[in-house]
């Protein structure tokens, strides 16, 4: 019970800190003083206190969608273990459930965007739906690689049996961490796929879908975004810590710093893709993920022989 509590607390810490680390990294690299570490949390608190503006075009779906978005993200969040700790929820096959819960949250926000009747939000919705569809195989193959090595299909079991890992598979696990990091970038709408800071609605993806949200709804969407970031960052960190040091004291800072600094650095150092190139970019990750799985499979066969 305590372990589960600790696991959840650590995950919340990860969720709250990643955005802060990204912001600090960006400020540092561009030579600015930057905003406070927890500025995004203050912003969300501010939003939670505000009223709201709803467009008369929208239906009840628009008001329920943020709750579905956040609710599904929270449920998925509860399945993720921090290294050797035990997650709150777990069952045989939960890796599929997590992927589909995230799909549920995606369809909620996509439909909400369509509900506003705005051309820009339709654009964002169409892109989000497409990228989400394309990234799904990469995600599943990543999870299948875990299943291949651990012989389980639930997050908790995968990472609890992970200590017996051979050093042979270091390369596979590192690549897997890379794949999940890129999935995190795609899903959370970061450079080079999407730019949360952009001011041109024509080229935005995630942010443009939330244009009509304000107040509590927007806060919910932001919070769900943090939770999702924590999910991806933690899976990636777990993959690394499996071969380095499988302990929560190592995995938690790794999840925060590893993904935060990487994303911050990428955002400062490279430009975003041309939108038409995004499909290719995502398919490259799918191919990468397939490659990891195949390499893993070959290594696995060797180990057995």
């Amino acid at each position: 019970m305590l372990i589960k509590l600790l696991n959840t607390l650590l995950m919340i810490v990860v969720a709250l800190s990643i955005t802060g680390v990204i912001n600090r990294t960006r400020a540092l690299l561009s030579g600015r003083k930057g905003i406070r570490f927890f500025q995004h949390v203050y912003n969300a608190r501010l939003l939670l206190r505000k009223g709201a503006v709803y467009s008369p075009t929208t239906t009840a779906l628009f008001r329920i969608a943020p709750c579905v978005y956040l609710g599904a993200a929270i449920m998925a969040f509860l399945f993720i273990p921090v290294a050797n700790l035990e997650p709150v929820l777990s069952f045989h096959g939960d890796i599929v459930l997590v992927a589909y819960l995230l799909a549920l949250s995606r369809i909620a926000i996509v439909l909400a965007a369509m509900d506003t009747g705005s051309s820009f939000e339709g654009m964002g919705a169409a892109r989000e739906a497409l990228y989400g569809a394309l990234v799904e195989p990469a995600l599943m193959m990543g999870l299948a690689t875990f299943a291949l090595f651990c012989g389980y299909s639930s997050f908790a079991d995968i990472f609890s049996t992970a200590q017996m890992f051979d050093t042979n598979i270091t390369i596979v696990m590192l690549l897997l961490a890379y794949v999940f990091l890129i999935i995190m970038i795609i899903e959370s709408g970061r450079v080079p796929v999407d730019d949360p800071r952009t001011h041109l609605e024509l080229t935005m993806i995630h942010e443009v879908m939330c244009l009509d949200y304000s107040g509590i709804d927007l806060a919910m969407i932001n919070i769900a975004g943090w939770l999702k970031n924590a999910i991806w960052a933690m899976i990636a960190a777990n993959a690394v810590s499996v071969v380095v040091c499988f302990h929560w004291e190592f995995a938690t800072p790794l999840a925060i710093l590893g993904s935060g600094i990487t994303i911050g650095a990428i955002e400062s150092l490279r430009a975003r893709n041309k939108l038409s190139r995004n499909t290719t970019y995502i398919l490259t990750i799918v191919a990468m993920s397939a490659l990891v799985l195949l390499t893993g499979f070959l290594l696995y066969q060797n180990i057995d022989i």
């Binding site: 939670l48 505000k50 009223g51 503006v53 709803y54 467009s55 075009t57 239906t59 779906l61 329920i64 709750c67 956040l70 609710g71 929270i74 449920m75 929820l89 069952f91 045989h92 599929v96 459930l97 992927a99 589909y100 819960l101 799909a103 549920l104 995606r106 369809i107 996509v110 439909l111 965007a113 369509m114 509900d115 009747g117 705005s118 051309s119 339709g122 654009m123 919705a125 169409a126 989400g132 569809a133 394309l134 799904e136 195989p137 599943m140 193959m141 999870l143 299948a144 299943a147 291949l148 651990c150 012989g151 299909s153 609605e201 244009l211 009509d212 107040g215 919910m220 499909t279 499979f297």
Partner: protein, 661 residues
């Protein structure tokens, strides 16, 4: 048995024809309900007590046959019963709109065909094979042909119906060939004889021939091309029963074949691979084409193809898993596939009925003329939302349960090291299908129900009559039950799976029962969480200022509804991937980039299936060529025709003399 059925059918037909116009539907409803109740009674007693034989008889053609209900038949009887009751209840409001357009005889014919379709489908799944199977199979085709022809005054309907009839008979030929092969070798054309055939003769040719025959009905790639033509042409409740249940009879046949391969591991393996591969191709092809369609019913038709793909993936996983020696993988795949058969029959029925509600108000199924329908048809919108979440296989509804089982089977394959590469192939395909389905249905729902209206017809739409809503709520109830209480729903399905695979399912079911139990809690928790978040939000907002303001137009003040994203633009990104699968036909001309002040343009693009032209065009061309030659004989002069008659007589005379005739 046969005579009584015939007599009952004749009485039902006569009753439908003599009943007053508005009472015809009630006659059909009572007949179908009676049949459905009888069928459900059989289902329950079969699942509790084992196989029931209703009749035995001998036909001149194929020898001894019988009508009996076993576990597999019971599953199909159940979905036929539920879907047919929902359909006939729904049909009242839908057909009423046509009373002015068609004569009472036309309406009677429609209802007679509907009753016939239901009864023949039931006979298909309880027949032991051979003549009675082929007979009811053919009856089913003809009944559905008449049903598709309902709006026979439209040319595209006639064309689609004819296309359907031709395709079905090609499939039927395969079936006849298969049964004749079976009869020649074993002396019986029952499904039970297939097992014997597989032992004594080369099994693959028979399997392939029958697989093609059943695949035609199920809509397997590349034999799926009748589906996207027939569904938009048929009335919506007919599409609902055809797509929800009738195409499953093809899967039923495939299941019967798989049941016959018990202990032959090599054969099981080969067949598993064939089924898995065709499932993957069918699923991916169906879903990508579905996402590209701009017509509601075409989209739903392609989605049916995709779901058949998913079912076959499950069956393939089951067969390969059993061949690899893992009972758990086999049971997961089989239970997933069987549950998906049930699930798809529920949500696809609902989806086609929603499409029917829209069609009866908008008089079109082109989604780019809709938008904002949720405000005018709120109940339809809610029910359609329900079905959309279910068909996207999202938790906590039923579609997720069946796909989860198939996934678990494949992940078990990966983690236990059984046939890893095939399992991986299945995982990639299923996850891609899952992703694109979300795209396709968010497009469908978003463009039709949300946003602002794209044409003035939307404003005149009103909610449909409550009887149609009730008809849609019936499958919705089952969707909810299977989704939230999967641990109970799986029990009968596991019984059926046991009957197909022949092994004991207890151990495998016991191993995934805790999972379903947890899933049930998690589904309820999810709903509770969403509800709590919503209530909390509403409470917090009570004291705050909630304003209404126009949708943010990004600084542009002259926005209008035509600037909204359309269905076509929504799936534009997928086009780069889907392009090789399609052949676009364009009507009119798009606005040129160089046109600074564009004049009025008319532009319509249709994404046609490439297979359609591959399969359809060459024989049309061939027929044209043959016709050209034949047309030369048609000179229009009587003396020429007399000569032809004379030549014919002379040839006959010569043949008689030589002794050929």
């Amino acid at each position: 048995m046969f005579l009584y059925t015939l007599l009952a059918a004749v009485i039902a037909t006569v009753l439908i024809f003599v009943a007053p116009l508005r009472a015809k539907v009630w006659v059909a409803t009572s007949v179908i309900s009676a049949v459905a109740i009888g069928a459900l009674f059989l289902v329950v007693s079969t699942l509790l007590g084992g196989e029931i034989t209703l009749a035995r008889f001998t036909t001149d053609l194929f020898g001894a046959e019988r009508i009996s209900v076993d576990a597999i038949s019971a599953l199909f009887l159940a979905i036929i019963a539920i879907a047919s009751v929902a359909t006939v209840v729904y049909s009242r409001g839908y057909v009423e709109g046509y009373f002015k357009r068609f004569s009472p005889t036309h309406i009677s014919l429609h209802y007679t065909a509907l009753v016939l379709l239901v009864v023949s489908m039931m006979f298909v799944v309880v027949s032991s094979g051979g003549f009675s199977f082929l007979f009811s199979w053919e009856l089913m085709t003809i009944a559905s042909f008449i049903l598709i022809l309902f709006e026979a005054d439209r040319q595209e309907v006639r064309r689609a119906a004819l296309n359907y009839l031709v395709m079905m008979h090609i499939g039927f030929m395969f079936l006849v060939a298969g049964f004749v092969m079976l009869y020649n070798v074993t002396g019986s054309a029952n499904f039970a004889a297939v097992e014997c055939y597989f032992k004594v003769a080369q099994p693959l040719p028979l399997f392939v021939v029958l697989f093609l025959g059943f695949g035609m009905k199920a809509g397997l790639f590349p034999m799926h091309i009748w589906l996207p033509e027939a569904h938009p042409a048929a009335p919506s409740h007919v599409s609902a029963i055809m797509s929800g249940v009738m195409i499953k009879t093809g899967v039923y046949g495939i299941l019967r074949l798989m049941q016959a391969i018990d202990h032959n591991i090599d054969l099981l393996y080969t067949i598993g691979l064939i089924v898995l591969l065709s499932g993957i191709i069918t699923g991916l092809w169906g879903v990508i084409l579905a996402a590209m369609q701009n017509d509601i019913k075409r989209l739903l038709a392609y989605s049916s193809i995709e779901n058949i793909g998913v079912i076959l993936i499950g069956l393939g996983v089951a067969a390969v898993g059993h061949a690899a020696g893992s009972n758990l993988i086999g049971m997961c795949g089989m239970c997933g596939a069987l549950l998906h058969i049930v699930n798809h029959s529920l949500f696809k029925t609902m989806l086609f009925m929603s499409a029917g509600n829209i069609y009866s108000r908008m008089h079109t199924t082109a989604m780019n003329q809709m938008g904002g329908l949720a405000k005018h048809m709120p109940v339809t919108a809610i029910l359609m939302m329900f079905a959309t979440v279910a068909i996207c296989a999202l938790p906590p509804l039923n579609g997720f349960v069946s796909e989860l089982l198939i996934y678990i089977g494949m992940f078990n394959g990966v983690s236990d090291g059984h046939e890893v590469l095939y399992a991986i192939g299945g995982i990639i395909a299923l996850s891609l299908i899952g992703g694109v389905v979300v795209l396709a249905f968010s497009k469908l729902y978003g463009v039709v129900f949300l946003g602002s209206p794209r044409s003035h017809h939307v404003a005149e739409c009103t909610e449909v009559d409550s009887q149609r809503i009730v008809a849609m709520a019936l499958p919705a109830m089952f969707i909810l039950v299977i989704g939230l209480l999967p641990q109970y729903a799986i029990r009968p399905v596991a019984l059926v799976a046991e009957a197909v695979t022949g092994g004991s399912s207890a151990a495998a079911v016991a191993s995934f029962m805790p999972m379903l139990q947890t899933l049930s809690y998690i589904g309820l928790m999810l709903l509770l969480l969403i509800g709590l978040l919503y209530v909390a939000k509403r409470r917090a907002q009570l004291k705050r200022k909630i304003e209404a303001g126009p949708t943010w137009g990004c600084g542009f003040t002259a926005t209008n509804t035509r600037m909204q994203y359309t269905g076509e633009s929504f799936s534009e990104g997928l086009e780069s991937i889907g392009k090789p699968l399609m052949k676009d036909t364009v009507d009119g001309r798009a606005v040129d980039k160089g046109e600074i002040f564009p004049s009025e343009h008319n532009y319509e693009i249709k994404h046609k299936d490439k297979v359609d032209s591959l399969l359809g065009q060459w024989w049309v061309k061939l027929m044209h060529r043959i016709n050209m030659y034949v047309m030369r004989l048609r000179t229009g002069r009587v003396n020429n025709y007399v000569t032809f008659a004379l030549v014919f007589l002379a040839v006959v005379l010569v043949f008689t003399i030589v002794g050929i005739l």
